[in-house]
């Protein structure tokens, strides 16, 4: 039984960084109607930026900040320089998806071309483990969970409790209408990409801390797990993304105890299950094909 408690503990950590990633991903979709497949690549670039900063003496907090800011700036630039133009030019969803995939491949491979395909890992002081009841967390895991909780609360507070947040939600709901009501939708979109990019970077650095070593392709599998979490919860819904992350993260670690080879496909199985039973996701509203 102890081992399942332990797995549940791991699940919480996985869920925490999944939640950060999934909320950022879903926010971009909500505001710009773009499934940003380059999200995983941005995450990896942030991991490497944090790596460089650690080697230059930044501490763990500094590395997290550098990762977040890198993700933030990069996401903003991608949207500003590429996506927005394609979205404006033609509303064809296929084109946009292919565009994001092109950007994803270009960015990940540019990085790989520079740093190579070797494994990297952060040089940090040894971990210290704490016991919380039946669970055990290391100091880094505690930080990851803590940062995730703070980030989630902050995003919710921003979206629900501030004028900026309601303007952003209005933009997500109906950009044209919000624009007509005087909401500066372009700026709202920019801010949303800056915030979601920051979350993306945070998730990247947290992931690198958790898994220990990473390569430029680490983002791929993690991105699809993020997508699974976001879809399970209901795409475009930040709260849904958190819920989806909890479900996917915890189930992954629990399943890993008896059958570790199936761990990676837990997210996929959940995704298919949800799609069959409730295509709009647990908290989603109608995104189902009509007709």
């Amino acid at each position: 039984m102890q081992i399942y408690y332990q797995a549940f503990g791991f699940g919480i950590v996985t869920a925490a960084l999944l939640a950060v990633g999934a909320v950022g991903f879903t926010l971009q979709f909500a505001v710009s109607n773009v499934f940003n497949l380059a999200y995983g690549s941005v995450m990896v670039v942030a991991m490497y930026a944090a790596y460089v900063s650690l080697n230059h003496g930044a501490g763990l907090w500094g590395a997290l900040a550098v990762g977040g800011i890198t993700g933030s700036v990069l996401s903003y630039l991608i949207n500003r320089l590429v996506y927005r133009h394609f979205v404006r030019k033609q509303a064809n969803r296929f084109t946009i998806v292919l565009v994001t995939l092109a950007v994803a491949l270009m960015m990940a491979n540019l990085l790989e071309g520079i740093v190579g395909d070797n494994f990297f890992s952060y040089q940090l002081p040894t971990q210290i483990a704490y016991a919380f009841g039946p669970f055990r967390f290391t100091n880094y895991e505690t930080i990851i969970v803590g940062v995730a909780v703070v980030a989630m609360v902050a995003v919710q507070a921003l979206l629900r409790g501030t004028k900026l947040g309601s303007a952003m939600r209005a933009t997500a709901e109906n950009s044209d209408l919000a624009g007509n009501c005087g909401v500066p939708t372009d700026r709202m979109e920019d801010i949303a990409w800056l915030i979601s990019g920051f979350l993306c970077g945070l998730a990247g650095v947290s992931l690198a801390l958790t898994i220990g070593q990473f390569t430029p392709t680490t983002g791929n599998v993690f991105l699809v797990t993020i997508i699974a979490a976001a879809v399970v919860g209901g795409v475009g819904r930040p709260v849904g993304a958190i819920l989806g992350a909890l479900i996917v993260g915890v189930s992954e670690e629990i399943v890993a105890v008896p059958a570790s080879e199936y761990q990676v496909v837990v997210g996929f199985a959940l995704l298919i299950l949800v799609l069959l039973l409730r295509p709009q996701g647990i908290l989603g509203t109608a995104q189902v094909r009509s007709g």
Binding site: F94, L98, L101, V103, L105, N109, E261, V265, L275, G291
Partner: protein, 620 residues
């Protein structure tokens, strides 16, 4: 050198098979199949394990299921079948319920997870190491020298590429394929014409999967090995780039694109010297280049080097020689419009149908005018907290035009959607000719003769005007998949249909534009195409959602005349309309809706006298 060129040729031919399969899924059916490579991988693995003997052979150095020693060419067939079955399965799960960009997402996720699964569960296909030492058909050609074998294998690949091309040609250019392309252009409009869009797409997706599987089998039988690193999800992207560069939906373009991308980038760069900051720099830059090419093409020439070409239809000579002369005289539109007001009626748009000797599938207009064609009882629909339609009841008698008017947001369009089946109703029931159709989806109602048009222009933009009309056919043979390969069944009917479509186009004055892509027409012309297309289905009940929206005011009168002639020909029409003058001139009975419920009904003159109607209209 022979080896190099031969290998290059073989890869090109195999990539061509795969690209044709993907084009069928993406270019023709409009499914963004980001997990395509999985079907190729499935084919390769299946071919590998049925060709190999049991995995205890060779000292048992690799683990896999199967091992049957099947002789050539059975492994290729098995690969095609299994990959097709897998595609059908994915299609049933993904295509049935999800919005299209979700579909793409789920398929990408599937591809990534499939790699992870095969790597993780090593007993299936030997994990990340992959399966090696797969004997190709070389075994049977041992008495040839190895160079001869390469050319022989290339010839075999060429045969399969030709077969794939032929299949793709028949599927795409048949009436069935036309419906598929129509559904790609506008799903809702296609189902409103009676097309079972999901079924069409699943079949096309499956055929694409079969081609992918065959390409995988060809690859593994040539290379002799197959591992997860060879089918990572970006490989699908290379095929997409080839299609986007060559021309989405154009078979020759797809082959050209495959040639350009696979050869120029994939192989050409092997001649480049190694340079850059890391050993993988070169390989990485290839990917960057592929991404860049895709972006540049999507921005500057999204239709590709060889764009999808409009299909031209030869105008049936009979119609040209005989009828078009007299028609030109009696169908002069300007004269006709004025005539109608004076004589009551002539020139019905439906005349060709009623004089047509053989409309076996069609719904002849009701014989007894006055029969109840449509009855809707207590229909309600709630969106979140808003009651969009509240227990609406209405009736339409055969051969009449029923108007549905009301202020913006009254629920008219929602009600029409419910009647057409594109929106479900929370309560109430809908009877068509006394038959309960409440539970039927849109395409099944269309097959019963309930056909709608849309408020927003809903032509199939990448189909010609003529094709737009031909999609309206509800003939069984014209809509069967088997018909793709059994041309005789539909060719004769196609001639009749073209004749009928031509007559309709002449009457709406669009005959001269029959070969133009419908997306290039003006707003009013698109409306007319849409109405003519609906008439091609020989509807019993026509549901028109603001047919004058987006039409140049000068042409509204023209549409009005057509509407009246449709009604006069015996078709029952339900008309949602904002312009009361149009309703006044065309409709017999009018329903007024406000705040989701039906407020009143009667002639427009009667309604104008009612207080409640006026207040709803002007204050609501």
């Amino acid at each position: 050198m022979t080896y190099y060129v031969g290998t290059l040729l073989i890869y090109l031919l195999i990539d061509g098979v795969a690209a044709l399969g993907l084009n069928l899924q993406y270019g023709v059916a409009g499914i963004l199949s980001l997990g395509f490579i999985v079907f190729q991988a499935a084919g390769a693995y299946v071919a590998a394990i049925v060709t190999l003997g049991p995995d205890s052979g060779n000292g048992g150095f690799q683990q896999y299921i199967g091992g049957y020693h099947w002789p050539f060419p059975l492994p290729v067939l098995a690969a095609g079948l299994v990959a097709g079955a897998l595609a059908a399965l994915v299609g049933v799960v993904v295509l049935r319920k999800l919005r299209r960009d979700y579909q793409a997402m789920v398929m990408l996720v599937t591809a990534v997870f499939a790699t992870a699964l095969i790597e993780g569960v090593t007993t299936l296909f030997n994990g990340s190491t992959g399966i090696a030492l797969v004997p190709g058909p070389a075994k049977w050609f041992n008495h040839f020298g190895s160079e001869d074998f390469i050319w022989l294998y290339a010839a075999w690949c060429f045969v399969l590429l030709a077969a794939a091309y032929w299949i793709s040609l028949r599927v795409t250019e048949s009436p069935w394929g036309r419906s598929l392309r129509a559904a790609r252009d506008n799903e809702a409009a296609a189902s409103a014409l009676g097309k079972d869009v999901v079924r069409l797409q699943i079949i096309a997706f499956t055929i694409g999967g079969v081609l992918a599987g065959i390409s995988g089998a060809l690859l593994v039988e040539y290379i002799g090995a197959w591992a997860p690193s060879g089918w990572l999800y970006p490989e699908t992207f290379v095929l997409f780039t080839a299609i986007v560069v060559g021309g989405t939906g154009n078979r020759r373009g797809v082959i050209l694109g495959t040639f350009l991308i696979s050869i120029a980038i994939g192989e050409g760069s092997t001649y480049l010297p190694t340079f850059g900051p890391s050993p993988v720099f070169e390989a990485s830059m290839q990917w960057v280049l592929i991404g860049l090419i895709t972006l540049v093409m999507l921005w500057f020439r999204p239709q590709g080097i060889l764009p999808e070409r409009p299909r031209r239809y030869r105008h049936p000579s009979s119609a040209l020689a005989t009828s078009s002369g007299d028609r030109a005289a009696s169908w002069d539109k300007g004269v006709r419009a004025r005539d109608r007001e004076m004589n009551g009626d002539d020139a019905p748009l439906m005349m060709a149908e009623s004089t047509d000797s053989s409309p076996p599938q069609g719904h002849a207009p009701s014989e007894h005018p006055g029969d109840l064609v449509l009855r809707a009882e207590g229909l309600s629909r709630r969106f979140g907290g808003v009651l969009a339609v509240e227990s609406a009841t209405l009736e339409a008698h055969a051969g009449t035009c029923v108007g549905l008017i009301g202020p913006n947001g009254a629920g008219k369009s929602t009600l029409l959607n419910m009647l057409a089946g594109s929106e479900r109703s929370d309560s109430g029931r809908i009877l068509v000719d006394g038959e309960d159709v409440t539970g039927l989806p849109a395409h099944k109602r269309a097959r019963l003769g309930v056909v709608r048009t849309f408020q927003l222009a809903s032509e199939f933009p990448k189909l010609t005007v003529m094709e737009n009309l031909l999609v309206g056919s509800r003939d069984r043979d014209m809509n069967s998949f088997a018909g793709c390969f059994w041309g005789r069944r539909w060719r004769r009917k196609e001639v009749e249909l073209i004749d009928r479509a031509w007559a309709l186009l002449e009457r709406v004055n669009l005959a001269s534009k029959s070969d133009q892509l419908a997306g290039t027409l003006s707003g009013g012309e698109r409306r007319l195409v849409e109405i003519a297309r609906a008439l091609m289905t020989e509807p019993k009940l026509l549901l028109l959602d603001e047919p004058t929206a987006g039409v140049n005011p000068g042409r509204i009168r023209e549409i009005e005349d057509h509407l009246r002639s449709i009604v006069d020909a015996g078709v029952t029409v339900l008309l949602v309309e904002h312009q009361l003058e149009v309703v006044d001139r065309v409709c017999d009975n009018v329903y007024v809706m406000a705040n989701g419920s039906v407020l009143a009904s009667g002639t427009l003159a009667e309604l104008r006298k009612r207080e409640d109607v006026l207040s709803a209209y002007f204050s609501g």
